[in-house]
């Protein structure tokens, strides 16, 4: 009895599971998922709406491509074994390119636009006159987003100096009961961008020294003061939405929503690509305003940027080069710019008319100002900086005085640099 019953049940189960498995594999175009070749594999760090936007950018080429979203592990695209490497990789940091030159194929010469020469050439390694990384996306990271209507209602204006910003925060908290700032401290880069803006736009010289690799500069008085300024702002009474601990575990899109969706904070310091979050979650256009991080006199033309670069892994196939040629077209990113938002093309040929009014201002700034890559994207200690800033936020959450937290942070940073 048991064995016959068992057999019947097994058949029933096979009947249930079989079609399911078939349905799981049958729906999609069979060639692509089965890995039977012919398509170009593109590894990107984008996810969610940005990934969908990139698919639209690939447009007619999408059928030839398979996307491999690797998130923050984009480095894994260059695993030890050559066999499984994607054909094209979108790298989010210039420092990732220089270490991998031997694994890369040179770009087809015609995709390099003259307009890249000025800023990008100095950032990107080249060899024998050939370029290896195609600038695709550039992010304006000196932006602070704020709620226009809220500012208008309470008669507030965006700050132009650091002192004004501190006063503004106090006024917001006292007058409105709303928090001044939302932070996404779970994303280390988010805090690092804040710090980099303070350092680049408030202090002359030290930023260049750090980028040049002078480790001693991490112990300088300027860096210490910058930490103190940051800690003072974050540690202000009720300045952070939900408190420092919430800020520590929130990621950057959550911080954007705290401001524009839940209205629990007035401002969020986030790069231009925050626009994609704002648009994905239906925020009214007339509520969205931006200002640039306050700068010391004479330093206002400096902007922190980051960028995504497309590289071809060696040996590059004809198809991969064709996909790259398509992506290098000035019009290629237009679907991302128009439909999703939060994208500024690195290609100077892309028409500014495609951007939303908010992003057009930022895109224009990028063509006229001095651009500086973030420290996290340039120097090896960038990772440590992120951890140190998260620890600073954590200390504030635990009730440590801002001054003490800042001095612990600068000691930790100076110690790591030694």
């Amino acid at each position: 009895m048991p064995s016959r019953g068992f057999r019947r049940r097994a058949l029933l189960r096979a009947a249930v599971v079989g079609p399911l498995a078939a349905a799981a594999t049958g729906c999609a175009d069979l060639n692509r998922p089965l890995g039977l070749g012919g398509f170009v594999r593109v590894a990107v760090s984008w996810s969610a709406t940005e990934l969908a936007a990139f698919q639209r950018v690939l447009g007619p080429r999408l059928d030839d491509c398979q996307l491999v979203p690797l998130g923050d592990d984009i480095d894994a695209a260059f695993g030890a074994n050559v066999a499984g490497r994607p054909d094209i990789v979108a790298l989010p940091q210039p420092k990732l390119v220089s270490g991998k030159l031997t694994s890369l194929a040179p770009l087809p010469p015609e995709v390099w636009d003259r307009g890249y020469d000025g800023f990008w050439s100095g950032q990107l390694p080249s060899r024998d006159g050939r370029h290896y990384a195609l600038p695709f996306k550039v992010a304006h990271s000196s932006v602070v987003w704020y709620r226009k209507r809220f500012f208008a209602e309470h008669g507030l204006t965006p700050p132009t100096t650091w002192v004004e910003w501190l006063e503004l925060n106090e006024r917001i908290v006292e007058r409105t009961g709303t928090a001044a700032l939302a932070l996404g401290g779970a994303d280390g880069w988010f805090l690092a961008r804040f710090f980099e803006n303070v350092l680049l736009r408030q202090f002359d010289g030290v930023y260049a020294a750090l980028v040049a690799g002078e480790r001693g500069a991490w112990g300088s008085a300027d860096v210490r003061t910058a930490f103190a300024q940051v800690a003072r702002m974050w540690g202000g009474r009720e300045v952070l939405a939900g408190g420092a601990e919430r800020a520590l575990v929130a990621q950057y899109p959550e911080a954007v929503l705290e401001v524009f969706r839940y209205h629990r904070a007035a401002m969020v310091p986030a790069p231009d690509f925050a626009e994609s979050v704002i648009r994905a979650f239906d925020v009214l256009d007339d509520d969205v305003g931006t200002f640039t991080f306050p700068a010391a006199p004479g330093l206002g033309r400096r902007l922190v940027v980051s960028g995504d670069l497309l590289v071809l892994t060696a040996p590059a196939s004809e198809e991969a080069e064709n996909v790259l040629r398509h992506l290098a077209d000035p019009a290629a990113p237009v679907p991302w710019i128009r439909d999703t938002g939060g994208f500024i093309a690195a290609n100077p040929g892309t028409d500014l008319g495609n951007y939303s009014p908010t992003l057009r201002v930022l895109a224009r700034q990028l063509t006229t100002h001095d651009l500086h890559f973030g420290l996290t994207d340039k120097v090896p200690l960038g990772g440590v900086l992120q951890t140190v800033l998260q620890d600073l936020l954590r200390a504030l959450a635990a009730g440590t005085e801002p001054a003490a937290a800042a001095s612990a942070a600068s000691s930790a940073m100076a110690g790591a640099a030694e």
Binding site: P2, G5, F6, R13, V17, L20, A21, A24, T25, C27, A28, R32, P33, L34, G35, R41, A43, S47, A48, T49, A52, Q55, L67, V68, P69, L70, G71, D72, D75, A76, A77, G79, A80, N81, V82, A83, G84, R85, P86, G185, A186, D187, G188, G242, E245, R246, L248, V249, A250, Q251, P253, E254, L257, Y262, V277, A280, F281, Q390, L393, A397
Partner: protein
């Protein structure tokens, strides 16, 4: 038909090499060609052991013999991660006690029990990645999105103070069902009473406790992807475990000695657990069938029913959260909880289906199916040889070896293998098969050894293993567990495979990069990825339990 599992006799998963095969082997057997049957298994084990030996060499090299170990044991970060791994063992132990208690109570409320069983075993088919994701959704500190925060406001659940509760709950959700079901099967064997605490006499679970204790403790100490997805990056230090620290050390620097030493340390801990855990679990007097007196008062019944209902609700919630979130549009799921009545739709599912879902499903299938076939094909002859053909002492020694290999952490062989295998999907199946082979062989051997007392020929031919229905539950158990394990795998794909493999769990992890605001698509991907293993497990779990406990399905 009652859901109880009828008992013929117990099964013990021995790694000590004593006893099990005693009296089964006919003395004076010859015929070396038989041993060729074990060749595929030996090849797979060599594939596993060579990189492990290499890791051991790395750990013991430069600067001097034990130098790397001293470095680790004096490094505060490493010490913290070791302490956290110990904490996971404690969590595992608590889970075992709770599982035992629920199993005992479940005998009092038999109707409710049937519902409870299906509910509790279901999450066992869900990957750790998915279970971590669900609990991060439940405990989202934002009250508009997180269930727990909506109920209890003002608490930062994912913060450094409470994150361990979140992780512990996710682990319990995955594993408690497995513990309860197997303990219950053991209790139903009516083996009698064990320890006595005052008036309380604890019913004995029997030999199956060895499998349960070992599996859960080893799973607890090897926790990896659960922590990776559930904890925000900013507090990763607070929940760091040996396995994760190993990963950060290998990706963060080119140093090989210290991470190798860390892997060896982890392996040593689970190896010792395996050796002693099974020995302790399998010990005890011979099973004597004692009819269990069950003088259950109405009050006890009420209490048991109450606890049963509570567990039912607690185990259902994560499922509701997951499916409810997946059925909201990405915009609705990113800004509000699953309970919101607006924003329902299939847009999240459509979004993942448009991007990465189908290729990933096929990829996972193309890794899991060959791995399962390979494991069964290699483990059956190996177990057959161990049970009936090999000399007693050799079989015993090999069993000890398999018991230790069965718990070997991926970190022990990932380093050297990733250099050879990354980007070759077929070979990843091979690694999975090699990793799954020891456990499969042990289960099959125990099933083979437990049977022949009722069979006339003590040494059957190999093909009789299938023809004789007696062993089929064990074969089903091994196949189902291997398939579910490989399908749900993150760590092997992550540490050894490259982007070329990109199975489900890996892409889900990429999708979860901006966790809270991607909740819709993450949940959608999670639901689809969990469907196949869950259906498979629910369809076969009774046979699986029978296979693991050496019983027939009633």
């Amino acid at each position: 038909m009652s859901p109880e599992i009828r008992v013929d006799d117990g099964l013990r998963l021995e790694v000590s090499g004593r006893g099990v095969a005693g009296g089964l082997r006919s003395p004076g057997m010859r015929g070396g060609w038989n041993y060729l049957l074990g060749l595929p298994a030996v090849v797979l084990l060599v594939l596993l052991m060579t990189p492990m030996a290499w890791t051991l060499v790395l750990a013991l090299s430069a600067p001097w013999g034990a130098g790397n170990f001293v470095d680790i044991l004096t490094d505060p970060d490493a010490l913290r991660s070791i302490w956290h791994s110990v904490l996971w063992v404690v969590i595992g132990a608590v889970l075992l006690v709770a599982g035992y208690a629920i199993a005992v109570l479940s005998r009092v409320v038999s109707t409710l029990w049937r519902v409870l069983l299906y509910l509790m075993i279901l999450p066992f088919g869900v990957s750790a990645m998915v279970s971590g994701a669900v609990f991060r959704m439940i405990f989202d500190p934002n009250g508009e999105r997180g269930t727990a925060s909506a109920l209890v406001g003002g608490v930062t659940w994912l913060g450094p103070d409470l994150i361990w509760w979140v992780l512990g709950s996710a682990f319990a959700w995955s594993w408690l069902g497995f513990v309860v079901v197997l303990f219950r099967a053991g209790l139903d064997a009516n083996i009698g009473f064990g320890r006595r605490f005052g008036n309380l006499r604890l019913p004995r679970v029997g030999p199956v406790s060895a499998i349960v204790v070992l599996t859960v403790l080893v799973a607890a100490i090897r926790v990896f992807d659960l922590v990776l997805i559930a904890a925000p990056a900013s507090i990763s230090g607070d929940v760091d475990v040996i396995g994760l620290l190993w990963w950060r050390m290998t990706t963060g620097s080119t140093e090989t000695g210290a991470p190798a030493a860390l892997a060896v340390l982890l392996f040593a801990v689970v190896g010792v657990l395996s050796l002693f855990g099974t020995r302790w679990g399998g010990r005890g007097t011979q099973p004597v069938a004692v009819p269990m007196p069950e003088p259950v008062s109405a009050r006890t019944r009420r209490w048991s029913a109450g606890i049963g209902v509570l567990v039912c609700l607690m185990w259902t919630l994560p499922l509701v959260v997951l499916v409810g979130t997946a059925l909201h549009t990405p915009a609705a799921a990113g800004t509000g909880g699953w309970w919101r009545l607006d924003g329902f739709g299939f847009a999240s599912l459509a979004s993942v289906a448009d991007t990465w879902l189908w290729p990933a499903l096929t990829r996972s299938l193309s890794i899991a199916v060959p791995a399962t076939v390979l494991v069964v094909a290699c483990a059956v002859p190996a177990a057959y040889l161990l049970t009936w053909r090999l000399p007693h002492r050799t079989a015993g020694a090999l069993t000890v070896l398999l018991g230790v290999l069965a718990v070997a952490p991926v970190q022990m062989y990932a380093g050297p293998l990733s250099h050879l295998l990354a980007g070759t999907p077929a070979l990843i199946s091979l690694v999975h098969a090699a990793a799954g082979l020891p456990f499969a062989t042990l289960v099959l051997r125990a099933a083979f050894a437990a049977a022949p007392r009722t069979v006339t020929d003590t040494r059957p031919a190999l093909d009789a293993v299938w023809r004789r229905g007696r062993y089929r539950p064990a074969l089903v158990a091994v196949s189902v567990l291997e398939f579910v394990l490989v399908w749900n795998d993150f760590i092997v794909g992550f540490l050894i495979g490259g982007p070329a493999d990109s199975p489900l769990a890996l892409l889900l992890w990429g999708e979860a990069r901006q966790f809270a605001t991607s909740a819709g698509t993450v949940a959608a991907g999670a639901v689809v990825s969990a469907l196949i293993p869950v259906v498979l497990l629910l369809g076969t779990w009774r046979t699986v339990v029978a296979g693991l406990t050496g019983r027939t399905v009633g």
